[in-house]
Each structure stands twice: as C-alpha cells, then as structure tokens.
C-alpha cells in the first residue's frame, strides 16, 4: 500500500446527546465528509474507558475520536469534564507506547454543530492520512 492510497480508519465515540446528534445534523444538512469514520454511540463521553481507546488502536484503528458535549452542556452534568481529565493521561500513555498522541482527539460538538462535525472529520482524516497507518497496523501486516 503506497502512502497516497492510504485511507485511515477512524473510530469515533460520540455521546448520544450532543456529538451523535451533531453527526446526525451533518447528515440532515448534507454536509459531506470523507467516509473514513465509524461512529460508536455511547450515552456520554464520560463513559469512555481508556481501554476502549487502547483496544481500538491495538486492533488497528488509525485514529480515535471522542466527541462530547461542550463544557457546561453535558447531559450528565460533568461527564465531559471527567473525559477531559483522562485525556492527558491517555495521550502520555500513547506517547510512551510509541503511538503519535495526535491519533487520539477529544472534541466538543453540540447537537447544533453539524457543520463543525463534518469539518472535524475532514480535518482529522487529513491529519491521520498524513501520519500514515498506525504503528500497530504496520506490525500486524508485517
């Protein structure tokens, strides 16, 4: 596979109330974005256990997106803050494991931000495409 042909696989954990609804709105509004993302619905971004992210990367995902409600908007009061608290720890851990921390992103997308969701996926797909396949994927195919 040449670099030019590389199409990354991105796993996106979206909270039901904001980000998932934002992704729906991107659809309703017909905002196009590259078909590289697969969305997994969770009730709250606070549900995302670090092992979910690590598992996804270990099994060959090229990038992981966690998307939740904006600070102050969490349907469960503060789940998004709890997720944000875990993020630095997780990024450090990824660096330690030899995975570019940029492969993991936490973003706030409200139910009204369909345009933002589409732009985010375009941006992240581009970024991961530039990073190339995840080191784990390379190991698997080796």
């Amino acid at each position: 596979m040449t670099e030019a042909e590389f199409e990354p696989t991105i796993v996106a954990f979206c909270c039901n109330w904001c980000a998932y609804a934002g992704a729906d709105l991107a659809g309703t509004s017909r905002f196009e974005y590259p078909p590289n993302v697969r969305i997994i619905r969770v009730m709250c971004s606070g549900r995302i256990d670090p092992t979910f992210v690590l598992s996804a990367l270990r099994w060959g995902a090229d990038g992981v997106l966690i998307a939740g409600c904006h600070p102050g908007d969490c349907h469960y009061v503060k789940g998004n803050y709890m997720m944000e608290r875990r993020l630095n720890f997780m990024k450090n851990l990824l660096g330690y494991l030899g995975i570019e921390p940029a492969r993991l992103r936490l973003e706030w997308v409200s139910a009204g931000e369909g345009g933002k969701f589409a732009a985010l996926i375009r941006d992240m797909t581009m970024e991961i495409r530039n990073l190339g396949p995840s080191p784990f994927k390379k190991m698997q195919s080796a």
């Binding site: 619905r41 709250c44 995302i48 102050g72 349907h75 009061v77 789940g79």
Partner: protein, 596 residues
C-alpha cells in the same frame, strides 16, 4: 447470556435517501454472511406499516431473538422499532440500529462505492453489538401525589394553584415574610398599565386560603435527598425545622434586579442616578417631583462581554473568579452577555407613565438595540405618540454622566444617527438593569443537582423541547429561575411546570431508566471513587462495598470508566457491547484472526 443470538437484519432503502447512494441489495447479501445472522432482507421503508409488518413476521418465522434495522438515526426511530419488537414478544433492548442514512448515505452522496462499503461496516458493527445485548427492564417507581413549590412569586403561586386545583397536596415555601415575589413590589405592569397588586393580590389570597396548599413563609430549603416520586426535603424557617416527603419539586425561586456597583454611570455617587426599579417605586409613591427631563440608559450590565458568571458565582474564591474580576475591573462597565428581555418594555412603560403623569417632562431613552416583540410593538408606538424620545447611541462609547449647572445632571452620549456627541441636561438618570440569578440558586443547584446555564440561571433540560424540565427527573422550573421573563411568561411557565409535574403524580407510577450501573461486589473494594464522582449521588458505599441506587442512576457510565477495579458494569452500554463494535470494525473476518 441465555439462548444463542439469532439475528435478523433489515436494511431500509428509505426511498432514494439510502437506496439512491448505498447499494442496499448488496448490503443485504453481505449481512447474510455475517456470523449469527439468520435472516436479512430489505424494505422500501422499514418504518412504514408494511415494513414493520414484514419485520414482525420475520421475527416469528425465523425465530429471531435480535433485530438490527439499518436505516436512519436511533435518535428518532429507535422507539418505533423497539415497540415493534415488543409487540412480537421481543425485549425492546434486544433491538439495535445501524445508522446508514444520516451517518452514511446523506454525507457520502458522491461516493456510492465507499458509502456501500461503509454501510456494510456499520451493519456488521451493529450485528456484532446486538449479539451481546441483553434484555433490560425499566423499573417502575411509585410517585407520591404531593409537590413542593420553592418560591411564592407569580410563577410559584401559579404552579401551586394549578396543582392544588387538580387535587394534589402542595407545599409552597417562600423565604420572605409575605408571598408575592418581585411583582408584589412593582407599581404598574406593561402593556396593560394595570396595578401590579391587581394581578398579584388575588393570587396571594388564593394560595393562603386553598385547602390543598400549605404555605410556609420565612422558610428556606436546607436539604434535598431522594429521587423522582420520593424526594426527602428538609426545611428551616420561622416554623422551625420541618421534613417533607414529596413526589415532585417545582423550582420558582425567581431572580433579582441587578443593582449596579457604585460608580457605574455614577450610580451610588449622585442620588439622582437610579435604576428602573427605583423609578418604579418613586412613581408609585409619587416622589418624583416635577422633573424637566429624565434620561434612561438601556442595557446597563446586559449584553456586555463574555463574562462567565457561572464560575464567578460558583467558585467565588477560585483563581478563575479572581481573574474574571480583574477583567471586569479593567472593563469600564460590568455586565453579562445575555439580553434580559424585559428591560426595553419596562423602560417604555415607565416612560409612558412619566409622560402621562407629567406632560411637561421630557423623556429620553438611550438605546443600542430596542427589542419590542409580538404585540408590544403597539406599546412602543404609543410611547412614540406620547413623544418619548428614542436616541440610538453607540454602546461601545458609554454615556458620561456629570454634574451640570443649576443642580442638574449632564449626560453626554454619542448619537449614532447624528454621528456626533449629544448632551442632555436632566434631573434623573435611570439605568435599565437586567434580571440576575439569585446567589441562592447556586446552593439550590448543588442541592438539586441541576446545572446552571452560562449566565448563572438554572438550566432547562432542552431549550426547545423541554423548556420547563430539568436534567433531574421530577424537578421542574417555573418563572425567572431559568432566565428573565415578564409576568405573562412567568405565569405560562408556572402552568407548564405544574402540567409536567401533574403527569407524573396523576400516573402515580413511572418508568425509570433501564440503562444503569451494576456493581460487581466481588471486585469492589469500597474505595468510594464512584460515590465521589457520581453527579446524581447514585453510588453509596455501605459496609465497604459500593451500592447503586437505581432510581438515581441516569446511566452516563462515568463510574464504569473511572472504577480502578473495573467493578462497575453498565447495562446496555457494557464493555463487551462497545468493544464488540470495535472488533467487528477492525476484524471484518472475525475477531479470532488476532495474533494468528
């Protein structure tokens, strides 16, 4: 897991919405090859009567115990398909949806090949998740048929009377000595110009004499525990300490009129700089004298800057609050970003009152934007007929107020239309200030676990769809507690909150959340982290083990992610149910291939 999963996949064309982009028959054929899939078919519209009939028939014919519908978003159609499953005897939680419209065909319209591949992935992920689904039940809770209404202003009294007239017992508490709230202190109300007392006094009489209302004045809430249908409330006041057990709570604690800090537009320095509220009182008491001119300034403290009042008020001693205060100090004018909604009408009302009472008095209103909505436009027109002068000034150049000759004040503002400074000698300067949340709301927020909006008001569950609900079941908002409202709007929200509360109480029972946390007591070490982080108080450590109070749990799953012993599982969003989707995505030929 009980019986082996027997999955049925139903792929919807949604007319051309999906079928026009995604090759639906190809997805169906693909679905048939997936593990544990016993049946797959496509429908023109799975949500139509014919589609649902086909689904139900297939469940019976193929003995399906898992149903996957690949169509639109679960946020709109999941309830429909769940009830179809229920009708054929399948637990609704054994249903899973694959969103191939909003998140596939609609966003990849120009890439049909890749959209079809993505749809296959989405279906495969949903099928994998469905295999791990378990039946869930929504526990039923009993709802006590009594309500607590916090605050006896027009909104609170309206809620209390509405509920009491339906036969529910209402405890109406008020921290002041008398009920009536802010309106009791007002002179006239817009747009009818009737006395505020005409509106509020009959309500006060009614709540005092209603047999179903227990009115407790000079009383505060000191603690709230329990959950929807069964709240334990502690009160403290002139009647001493009191404990109540109620089914629902309506929060109608009102708002405050913002008093500017000393020095803002010379307020507190010249006694002839007053607020609209003070002008209102002077008009009622006839103490205004016979002024030659009154200048009103709109949006004092409103629609200003991005001041995060929440942080300032919730954590007054924090570094952030100190920083915010510094910013406030650096700005010439203190304020909040929101529009307080009532000030334009209030200023016009007072201007009309002054012009009709003292025809010799000139009234000038300095405004940046004037917001008179619905039928209030007529009221504005009336003020123009009465020759109230509206001067649009540039708000970024705040008017300057100084002492002028002959014991008068002098206001210098920048007239936007004239494009120059204008000067108004006057007797009174009246500041239109916004409604601000009560500081006590921060305490209430903590007690009731209702989030605050960025402006510091109690926040509704959904701005459009659930305007009087809160994120806490059984607690509703009425009146200005959730943001500035005038009297008709407060009454409307009071009635709306009562209607929402009465639905719960009239049904006597309600279904609670099925998606809750489950603690594995064998793994739990009783560290208490879950108890600490749960925003709903749904975890309690007792005898060294955490216990979930299911009625309080809302199913966010933060505890499951935080638990260091991985002792907490989430119903319907369990680790295996989530990871099955990741596995299905990344190992399309089956998870077994890992390490092979």
């Amino acid at each position: 897991m009980g019986e082996e999963p027997n999955i049925g996949v139903f792929v919807c064309h949604c007319g051309v919405n999906i079928g026009g982009v995604v090759n639906v028959p190809e997805v169906v054929e693909y679905a048939k090859t997936l593990p544990r899939v016993a049946h797959a078919e496509h429908n023109l519209y799975t949500c139509s009567e014919a589609g649902l009939a086909a689904l139900k028939e297939a469940v019976k014919k193929f003995n399906l115990n898992r149903v996957v519908v690949a169509s639109c978003t679960p946020r709109t159609h999941e309830p429909l398909f769940r009830s179809a499953c229920k009708e054929v005897g399948l637990n609704p939680y054994l249903f899973e949806m694959a969103n191939i419209r909003e998140q596939c065909s609609w966003v990849h319209a120009r890439e049909p090949k890749r959209a079809t591949e993505k749809a296959k992935d989405i279906v495969r992920m949903a099928a994998a998740r469905s295999a791990w689904l378990e039946p869930q039940t929504e526990p039923e809770l009993e709802v006590k048929d009594s309500a607590l209404v916090i605050g006896a202003g027009v909104a609170g009294m309206t809620s209390a009377l509405t509920l009491a007239n339906q036969g529910f017992k209402v405890h109406l508490i008020e921290k002041e000595e008398e009920p009536g709230g802010m309106v009791r202190g007002l002179h006239k109300l817009y747009p009818t110009l009737q006395d505020a007392s005409e509106v509020v006094n009959p309500m006060i009489e009614a709540v005092k004499s209603h047999k179903n209302i227990e009115l407790l004045t000079s009383t505060n809430v000191t603690d709230v525990g329990g959950y929807v249908g069964n709240f334990d409330v502690a009160l403290s006041g002139k009647y001493g300490e009191k404990k109540l057990n109620v089914g629902t709570i309506i929060v109608a604690c009102g708002a405050l009129n913002y008093t500017p800090p000393k020095g803002l537009y010379q307020y507190g320095i010249y006694d002839r700089v007053i607020t609209q509220m003070e002008l209102d009182h002077m008009l009622r008491e006839g103490k205004l004298g016979k002024p030659e001119r009154i200048v009103m300034i709109q949006c004092v403290g409103a629609r200003k800057g991005e001041i995060r009042a929440y942080e300032l008020e919730s954590f007054p001693k924090s570094d952030t609050a100190a920083l915010l205060r510094k910013i406030l100090k650096a700005q010439k004018e203190e304020g909040w970003p929101y529009c307080s909604r009532i000030c334009c009408m209030n200023a016009i009302k007072n201007a009309i009152l002054v012009r009709s009472q003292y025809p010799e008095t000139d009234v000038v209103i300095l405004f940046g934007d004037l917001r008179v909505y619905k039928e209030y436009e007529d009221f504005y027109a009336k003020s123009r007929e009465l020759e109230v002068r509206f001067v649009r000034h540039i708000e970024e150049v705040p008017p300057e107020i100084s002492e002028g000759p002959e014991n008068k004040l002098k206001v210098v503002a920048y007239d936007m239309l004239a494009g120059r400074e204008v000067e108004f000698p006057c007797d009174w300067v009246v500041l239109s200030t916004p409604l601000r949340p009560r500081r006590g709301e921060v305490l209430l927020e903590r007690m009731l676990k209702i989030p605050l909006s960025p402006d510091g008001f109690l926040m509704e569950a959904h701005l459009k769809l659930r305007p009087v609900d809160t994120t806490v079941d059984g607690i509703f908002l009425a009146g200005t507690a959730s943001g500035p409202k005038d009297v008709p709007e407060s009454i409307m929200s009071g009635k709306a909150a009562a209607a929402r509360a009465s639905i719960l109480m009239a049904n006597k029972r309600m279904k609670a959340e099925a998606i809750t946390a489950v603690v594995n007591t064998d793994l739990c070490i009783g560290c208490g982290l879950c108890e600490e982080i749960c925003p709903y108080g749904a975890h309690k450590v007792e005898e060294g083990k955490s216990k979930t109070v299911e009625a309080l749990c809302r199913g966010c799953g933060a505890c499951a992610a935080e638990c260091p012993r991985r002792a907490i599982a989430m119903r319907h969003y369990g680790e295996q149910q989530i990871l099955a989707q990741v596995q299905a995505l990344l190992f399309p030929k089956g998870f077994e291939m890992e390490g092979a």
